[in-house]
Symmetry: C2
């Protein structure tokens, strides 16, 4: 059931009995979204209609600001129950947002086990495997039999995020093997787990960046990935549901940066966020243009005497920019999904230049033909200059579109720092100055 | 271990014994990538070094063209073993690519069960749930006890894609409940499964588009999703690993289309593919510009007499385009990740216009100030006109950036059909004509 259906199914908000029935029957994520969209005062009322287990599930799906609001408006006992039941990774995310005083009070109320789990996760930097992991996983010692392992799994409480993979450690808690619940179920109980568990364990370190975690889980089709500390000791696992969200966030970031938008500026963002996130890019581009324009300004006389330039230049600028942004986009996305690395720079450049050459010739010829149509007979020579500059500009555009993001990546910077608008501005500056200089020189000979 | 490490670990390709050891030890996806990158003649040699179970796993990770090559170069017996062991959804994907003759021969060689499974999947349209699903899932009848269910799961062969969820059907094979292996393990054996299985079963129909499947699995954090036919009978399940790939593909498509790139034009594409995919967009933009330019051409005289326009117009065009592409990107991505629907059009438009107004004023004022710097004293009035047009152009840009993709979506077309370059060209045409007309009118009064 998608959110549209839920909006319809909760027709009459005034009917509290019906609402209570609906809210306890629907999926927690949908109820979370419904409650978040209510006016502030109604949120706590709706939340109190949930029975305990639904309340616990729904709470994890609420955005941190709504969680904070509820923490302030519910009874302390209820709050502690909710926070205690959260999985440690979600709790760490909430604590990041709450005022330090509230966090301190809540930490004191938690059970020792949950307090330690939260403290561990909060100890790692944001956007790393350590922060993303949960400490609720199944681990087994090497010496167990399959039967013992299965009954250990059954004895553990139901809190574990996944029981479908169990991680096998040696006496020093070092991660050595992994075994799936499926393997355990299909094996005779008296077999030793080390005989069936695989020693090809994929793992990440606590400081591994979240993008790398996501790429590894995607590549190897994993539903859980163990996290180890510097001594290779098992400290947590990351589950696929968190990774799906990260892959989508990373893609959104790439898209937004390419367009000169960033961060939390989604379709539903507050107008002030939108302004704060977009205006700086626009002003930066205008700033760059001041530089570019002071390079064009001396050519005002040239433009005056060859007015067809006013028609040709926008076409020139738009086409060159598009070529550059195409190469830029393909390179940034290729790096983003792990299809290419900086080692491929020359290979990609060779391919882009090969394709670029054909594009350059086609666009150059088209440019000459268009200029012929627009220009006065005595200005037709301008078309040939435009064609040549269009062609070279195309090659410059694909080279920069490939090389700049690769260079940033090699410097360990974000390749998407080169946004589309930045690329366009850069190409405009280079292209216009080349073009206008050539026209000036040509004017000398023709006049 | 990432692909870079593997390239290093397989140092000496000449040493076949070492290579054989490495290829059988590494992860199937890495071996698949390694083999795909070998020269054509070496691929079959490398593949023959794999032991049977590794060969079966690796084969599923090879791209269809390499699979086809191997099918032609391996012995028939081996081919049948490989194809028989593939999961039905991967096999359907391969059969899509193979010549009909080869498919027919292979289908005859398959076991009845696998042949039926493949035929079922091939019967559904591409990019739908039916095509994406596997028929290897666990299903239980309502009347079983937990103990009977567990021993049924254990008795089934190990082929099932996931055993972590079992789907409960009534006597007509209609899907009625779902139960997790975890629930089964934590319950006493004599309890009836219908007492613990949930009747809140999320499911999709065979014809549900793959984007919707992906959004549902992401939203509800599912690792498997059942697929039913029109009579609500269970016919297959979709697993999270397939969905992760789809989410990434959809994001890549959105990014590429925004930049005026499309389809298979990845960073590693063949130059001919790159040319074929990008050049049409470029020529289309040039074509549009012919229209736009014939609108600008009559103003050549105006530009001649006010040369500062040559400096102002590119800035004007680039900034207006960026504003439009920002709004466009946020809207397309919002629709892509299911954050907004066409019902939100007015809401988003209101927000974009609010933010746009502030942007318009800022950019307008900046434009006036910049024109003051560049223009001759007698041309300063141009700056005020430029400022006003810049401001109105900003509002037009955010309106079009929001409205066009929403409109396409409402017409059930792909909102990303409005690419960035198309947006820029459109805004240029509107902006230039407005600007130059206002300047012409003003010239009448001033001269």
């Amino acid at each position: 059931m998608l959110i549209q259906d839920i909006r319809n199914s909760i027709v009459d908000i005034a009917d509290l009995n019906q609402l209570k029935f609906d809210l306890n029957r629907l999926q927690p994520v949908d109820v979370g979204e419904y409650i978040s969209q209510l006016p502030e005062k109604q949120r706590a009322i709706a939340f109190r209609l949930l029975n305990k287990s639904q309340a616990i599930d729904v709470f994890e799906y609420l955005p941190p600001e709504v969680q904070e609001e509820l923490i302030n408006s519910l009874h302390d006992v209820q709050v502690v129950q909710l926070v205690e039941a959260m999985s440690p990774d979600d709790r760490a995310e909430l604590f990041d947002e709450l005022p330090a005083k509230v966090v301190k009070r809540l930490l004191q109320e938690l059970s020792t086990e949950q307090r330690q789990a939260t403290a561990t996760i909060l100890g790692y930097a944001e956007a790393t495997a350590g922060r993303l992991m949960t400490t609720e996983y199944v681990w087994l010692r090497e010496g167990l039999t399959v039967g013992e392992a299965l009954s250990k799994i059954r004895r553990q409480d139901e809190d574990k995020e996944t029981i479908y993979y169990a991680y096998v450690t040696d006496d020093n808690r070092k991660l050595v093997r992994v075994v799936s619940l499926r393997q355990l179920l299909f094996t005779f109980p008296d077999v030793l787990i080390k005989e069936i568990a695989s020693d090809r364990v994929l793992k990440v370190h606590t400081e591994t960046p979240q993008e790398d975690v996501a790429q590894i889980m995607k590549r190897y089709d994993l539903i859980a990935l163990p996290v180890v500390d510097r001594e290779e000791r098992l400290v947590g696992i990351i589950t696929i549901d968190d990774v799906v969200d990260i892959l989508e966030e990373e893609a959104t970031e790439d898209i937004q940066k390419l367009a000169g938008v960033s961060g939390d500026d989604g379709a539903l963002a507050h107008p002030l966020v939108t302004i704060r996130k977009r205006l700086p890019w626009l002003l930066a581009i205008m700033g760059l243009y001041i530089g570019a324009s002071s390079a064009i300004a001396p050519f005002q006389g040239v433009i005056s005497s060859v007015p067809v330039l006013a028609v040709i230049m926008p076409l020139f600028s738009n086409t060159g920019g598009t070529v550059g942004v195409q190469a830029l986009t393909v390179t940034i996305r290729g790096l983003g999904i792990g299809e290419i690395t900086t080692k491929d720079t020359l290979k990609i450049l060779r391919k882009e230049l090969t394709a670029g050459l054909a594009t350059a010739v086609t666009l150059g010829i088209t440019m000459v033909m268009l200029s012929m149509i627009w220009a006065q007979p005595q200005e037709r020579w301008v078309g040939f200059v435009a064609g040549i500059v269009m062609a070279t500009n195309t090659l410059v555009a694909v080279t920069l579109g490939t090389f700049l993001p690769m260079g940033l990546k090699r410097l360990k910077l974000d390749p998407a720092l080169i946004s589309g608008p930045l690329m366009t501005t850069l190409l405009d500056a280079i292209g216009f100055v080349t073009f206008l200089s050539m026209i000036s020189v040509a004017l000398h000979f023709f006049k």
